[in-house]
């Protein structure tokens, strides 16, 4: 079983961590008999250096895009043959974030190499994501920046607008797609359009409302990128105020940080700015000294097209992967502010358009988890996708709606605090009756 990476990689993936989304109390993949492996994808990030420096070398960047995962996969298979006297019967790839993109790119570029792939919150439409992330930073550089207390204000307002729509008053927005249409940041506008001592953090300025609307809006390119796409979908709503610790959390972790964006990006900036601004400098402009506020993407069109082809992982043609019996499970977290869940949703729908809805259902699934941030916090997010995938690949048992849990990080029981149905796109959990902490109190329906 191959583990995917994260961020810009540059760290050796040991293959010893829990698989993506895995319940905390289940036996490890090694304990279940899997050979596990991972890679740094062909570069090592040095302490104190931006994570994108490696992109200045073409081979290192192509390794990051796709080659490293294939090379390491082939090397691992050879080692398994030498160790056990036979080839592995099945191969699996599981990854989160960048690792999820790697999973999808394996299905698209190397369809013969894996039998089962789990792509969780994949960072596809990669060129679009880096540009949209940078845009989100630029719009908060001056008066648009929103402080953590105001982030809480927005989180509360979203819950007030949408929490009860599924029938339960449980501080969770079960249908964030409908909520995105219903919630208007404008409703929090200060009477004067600006804050003063009296209004404090209890309302938003015009510049802040513009920043939120920008975050939610599509990012449009003036030309087409790989696979005919020319935009990046905007981010969703809910989980804005999920507490921030490193990559865990909502707006503060990923978008806003605890201080307005700086150049070069500072450690207390949102990660999207750190990733996006560095991406503009090292990946697209390939000019580490570039002032990102002066960047004009039209001047780098050829490079954008090149990177898009390498990194976007949006090829909807999974016919070869399907023909060889491959099985794909995608999972999107609806309160993810690292990448937009709408990118993965759109990709899945593009596969359905390309191969047919019924045909796609024979080998691929998309699940959406409401209220969950990029890494699995904020709402129930744990699910044994390894078993779901193995059952599908090896026993022909296709997964239906599943269940996600929120577990206490406390050994050995890792008590379940809350469980919810994990619905197949485009269904959401609707409240029926009973305790809101029990999955059986909800049913999946569009």
């Amino acid at each position: 079983m191959q583990y995917g990476g994260g961020g810009f990689n540059g760290v050796l993936i040991t293959g010893l961590a829990l698989p993506p989304a895995y319940p905390f109390d289940k036996p490890s993949s090694l304990a279940r008999g899997f050979v596990t492996y991972g890679t740094d994808s062909g570069h090592e990030t040095r302490q104190g250096e931006p994570p994108q420096v490696f992109a200045l070398n073409d081979e290192a960047f192509e390794n990051f895009a796709h080659r490293a995962y294939k090379k390491v996969r082939d090397a691992a298979v050879t080692l398994m043959e030498r160790a056990y006297g036979k080839k592995p019967e099945k191969l699996y790839f599981m990854g989160t974030s960048e690792g999820g993109r790697e999973g999808l790119t394996m299905a698209q570029r190397y369809p013969d190499d894996f039998d089962g792939i789990f792509a969780r919150v994949p960072v596809i439409n990669w060129v679009g994501l880096q540009h949209a992330g940078t845009r989100s930073g630029l719009v908060t550089m001056g008066d648009g920046w929103i402080n953590p207390a105001q982030v809480k204000l927005v989180g509360d307002a979203v819950r007030a607008a949408c929490d009860k729509a599924d029938g339960s008053d449980d501080a969770l927005v079960q249908n964030p797609v409908a909520c995105k249409a219903a919630f208007k940041a404008e409703s929090l506008r200060c009477a004067s359009g600006k804050t003063d001592d009296k209004t404090g953090d209890q309302c938003l300025t015009d510049a802040q409302i513009k920043a939120i609307d920008t975050l939610h809006a599509t990012y449009k390119f003036p030309f087409e990128l790989a696979n005919g796409l020319d935009d990046y979908p905007g981010w969703g709503v809910s989980g804005e105020d999920t507490p921030a610790v490193g990559p865990t959390g909502g707006w503060v972790a990923w978008w806003l940080g605890t201080a307005p964006p700086a150049q070069p990006p500072a450690p207390n900036n949102g990660i999207a700015w750190i990733y996006g601004a560095g991406g503009i400098q090292y990946v697209f402009a390939r000019d580490p000294k570039l002032d990102v506020t002066t960047y004009k993407l039209e001047e780098h069109k050829a490079r954008l097209l090149e990177v898009s082809k390498l990194m976007d992982s949006t090829d909807p043609d999974l016919s070869r992967f399907r023909a060889r019996g491959g099985r794909l499970i995608m999972l999107e977290h609806m309160a993810d502010y690292a990448q937009s869940p709408y990118a993965g949703i759109r990709y899945f729908e593009s596969v359905e358009r390309k191969l047919g809805k019924t045909e796609t259902a024979e080998f691929a699934r998309l699940y959406t988890a409401p209220g969950v941030d990029h890494v699995g916090s904020g709402a129930p997010a744990n699910v044994d996708m390894l078993s779901a995938l193995v059952d599908w690949v090896e026993k022909g048992k296709a997964p239906g709606d599943l269940e996600v849990t929120d577990q206490k990080v406390e050994a050995p029981s890792f008590a379940v605090l809350r469980a919810l149905p994990l619905c197949r796109w485009p269904a959401w959990p609707h409240y029926k009756s009973g305790s809101v902490t029990e999955a059986s109190s909800f049913a999946c329906a569009p």
């Binding site: 062909g42 030498r82 990080v409």
Partner: protein
Amino acid sequence: MRAKLWALLLGSAAVVAANAALAVTLAEDADTVCKSLVGGTDAVKIDSAALQAPSQLAVAERGPTPSGRIIPTNPAFCKLLGHIDPVDPKAPPIRFQVNLPSSGTGVQCNMAAAASTAC
């Protein structure tokens, strides 16, 4: 049973003749087989190979993510650290880690149970 297992293993080793350099498999003699994987002749090189003792579940005080705090219980396994040489001498190598459970067979135990006494 033991004899039958040997026959099975030798049989599969004969089929993949190119890979029959090892007389025994990891499940038979974990330490020897694990250590024998060091080295390499092409671009792929194994820099270290060491058998790891079984380890207990641990939860780190802090971690970047909730699941990142959990270090799961692991059985004994052969830990390989290797690298793949770059084509461009200025590019860094691709580093990788492979973990081979010594009681498994390289596939899921439930699938391989018939051929393995270890599961």
